[in-house]
Symmetry: C2
Amino acid sequence: METMSVAAANLDARITIYDVAAAAGVSTATASKALNGTGRVSSNTRARIKQVALDLGFRPNALARSLTRKRSFTVGLLTDDTYGRFTLPVMAGISEGLIDHGVSVFLCAIEDNPELAKTHVDAMLDKQIDGIIATGKRVDRLLPVDLTHLPIPVVYALTAGPDDAVTIVPDDSQGTREAVGHLIRQGRRRIVHITGPASFRVVEERATAFTEKLQAAGLSISGSAIMRGSWSELWGHEAVNVLWSGSDRPDGIFCGNDQIARGVVDALRERKIDVPRDVSVVGFDNWEIVAEQTRPPLTTIDMNLKELGRQAGQTLMRLVNGEAVEPGLWRMPCTLVVRGS
Amino acid sequence: METMSVAAANLDARITIYDVAAAAGVSTATASKALNGTGRVSSNTRARIKQVALDLGFRPNALARSLTRKRSFTVGLLTDDTYGRFTLPVMAGISEGLIDHGVSVFLCAIEDNPELAKTHVDAMLDKQIDGIIATGKRVDRLLPVDLTHLPIPVVYALTAGPDDAVTIVPDDSQGTREAVGHLIRQGRRRIVHITGPASFRVVEERATAFTEKLQAAGLSISGSAIMRGSWSELWGHEAVNVLWSGSDRPDGIFCGNDQIARGVVDALRERKIDVPRDVSVVGFDNWEIVAEQTRPPLTTIDMNLKELGRQAGQTLMRLVNGEAVEPGLWRMPCTLVVRGS
DNA sequence: CTGAAAGCGCTTACAG
DNA sequence: CTGAAAGCGCTTACAG
C-alpha cells in the first residue's frame, strides 16, 4: 500500500527539466547548460538552478539525453562463458571500471550459439550502445559472431580478436617466468612443467617461456620436462606417478593450472613426499577455492583478471571518445602469489 | 580502412522511419503502425512498407521508441557475487529468458558496497529500466541496498527480499528429501548429514528436512546425525575421522555441498572404505567441476539455477506488464543427479 | 549571460 | 484505411 503509493507518486510526478527550469525561473536551455556545466551561465544562476534541481529531486532521463547526444553511455558485454570461472572477474572489473564514467553494461550470455549471439548484438545495436566488449572462456577461440563490421568500436578481452582490434589477454609468458623464477630462487634445479592439452595456445606459450627461462638460468632440461595432459587433478596425479616411476625425479613442479597442482600436491603427499621441503609446486590461476584448500595452500600465479576487465572498459571508452589507441595484443602482467607450496 | 568506411557509412546513413516512410510513399504514422502491427493499415500497404524497411535495412532506434512508449525493454541485474559460482548460471538464465522478449539486462556488480550499489541503481533508474532483479550469493542475506521504494518492480532471486515481493529460491527441503530418499532406496539405514555452518539458513532448513524425512521412513536418528562445520573439503575429511573413531558408523552420508562430499569421499578412500559399496554419499549443488572430478563421481542435488533465473526474468516481465503475481517465497524444485557415489 | 526554436527518432491520439 | 500534428525529455546551434 505504502509502497504502491510511493511508486505511483514517483511515476506520475516524474519531474523533468521543464519543472526545474520553471521553478528556477529560467529557460530549459539555461537549465540544461547549468546542470551539465556547458555553455556560459553566471555562477549565480547556475548555483540557483542546481539547488532547485536538488530540491526537486530532479534526475535527467538518460534516454532523452542519449537521443540528442547520440551517445548512450551504455556498452555491451558478450560472453560465451556461463560457468564463469574466468569470465566473472573480468565482467566485474569491466562493470566497476565503467560505472565511474556513468556507463552501464548490457550482459549478453551467448553460449556457443550464433543465432543467440546475433539476436543479442542486434538488440544492443538497436539500443544504441556505444561499444562492445567481447569476452570468453578461451583466449584462442573466436566468439561465434563477426563483430568486425559494426558501426561501433569493440575490444576483445580474454578471447580472440582480429589483428586490427585491441585484444587484452594475460601475459602468460611473463607469468610463467614469475613461476619458474620463484622455483629457481627456492634452490630448485630439476624443474618440470605439468600442463594442459597441446590444443590450447596458452599451453604452448607457457611451455616455450618455461624452456627459455630454464635455459636463461643455465639449467639443464630433460626431454620430458614438459608433460601435456588435461586440466584436471587426475592428470596431476598421474603425472606424478609417471615421474616417480622413473629415476629422474624433479624437485620443482610448475603446473598449468591450480587443479593440476592440486592433484600433484595430493599425489606427492600420498607418497610421503613433503611439499615444499622436498618438492616445490607452483600453480596457475590463483583460483582461490582450489588454491586455499590445498594442503599446503598453493603458491600460484594470479592473472589479475579484474584489472584486465577494468583495462578493457577504459580502453573501450577511449575508443568511443575517438582517441587513437594502438591495436594488437595487449598483455597484462600476472602476479606471483606465494603461499605454502 | 575498409572497416572504417563501413562504420562511417553506417553511422551517417543510419536510416530512420522517415526514410522508409518516404521510400514507401506513406506517412511516418502509417509506417510506424505497419511496422509494429498496431492500428489499421491495409495488408497491401503494410506488406509494402515492411518490404521497404527490409530493403533499406531499417532498424528502429530503441531509445526513441522507449522515450515515447515509456518502456525501455531493459532491466537491471544487481549482484553482490563476483565469484559467481551460483550467480552466473542464474544470470545466464535471466538473460536467456529475457532476450526472447527483446529485453536486455544491465549487469551491476556491487560487491558489498552500498555506495556502489546506489550508484548503479541510480544510473539504471536514469536509464529508465523497467524493473530490477536482485541476486546474490546468500539466500539469507539482504543486498546492501534498499529496493523497496523504487517506482519499478523488483524480484529477488537467490537473495533475501521483503515479504511483499516475490523471492525465488531453490527448494532446499525438497532437494534434501530427494537426496535422503535416494540413500534410503539404496538400502541405507544409518544415515548422517555433514553440512555447513549453522549461521546459514539453508543449513537449518536442510537439517530439519533431513530429520523429518528419516522419521517419515521410520529410521532411527542418533543424536549426532547432523554435523555442522564449514563448507570445505577439509571439514568433510574431519567429519569422517570423527565418525569412524566412534562405533556408530553410517552407511549413508548426505553432505551440505559438493566440496564437503568430495572431502568425505577422499577420506573414505584413504580408509579403504568403498564408495558406494560400503557407504553411499550424496552431495549438494551439482558443481560439475567438483562432482565430476571426484572418484567416484558424485551423486548430488542440482538446484536448477539457470531455470530459476529464467523464472525470475519471466516473473519480472509479468510484473512490468502489470499482471498480478502472488508475492512471497517461491521454491523451485531441485533435481537428483545420480553418478557413482 | 540567457532564451526561442529546432531537432533527436519514434508513437499516438485525433481527424479525415 | 491514412496522415498532420503534437509529444516523449532532453541538447544545441543561433540570436539577442
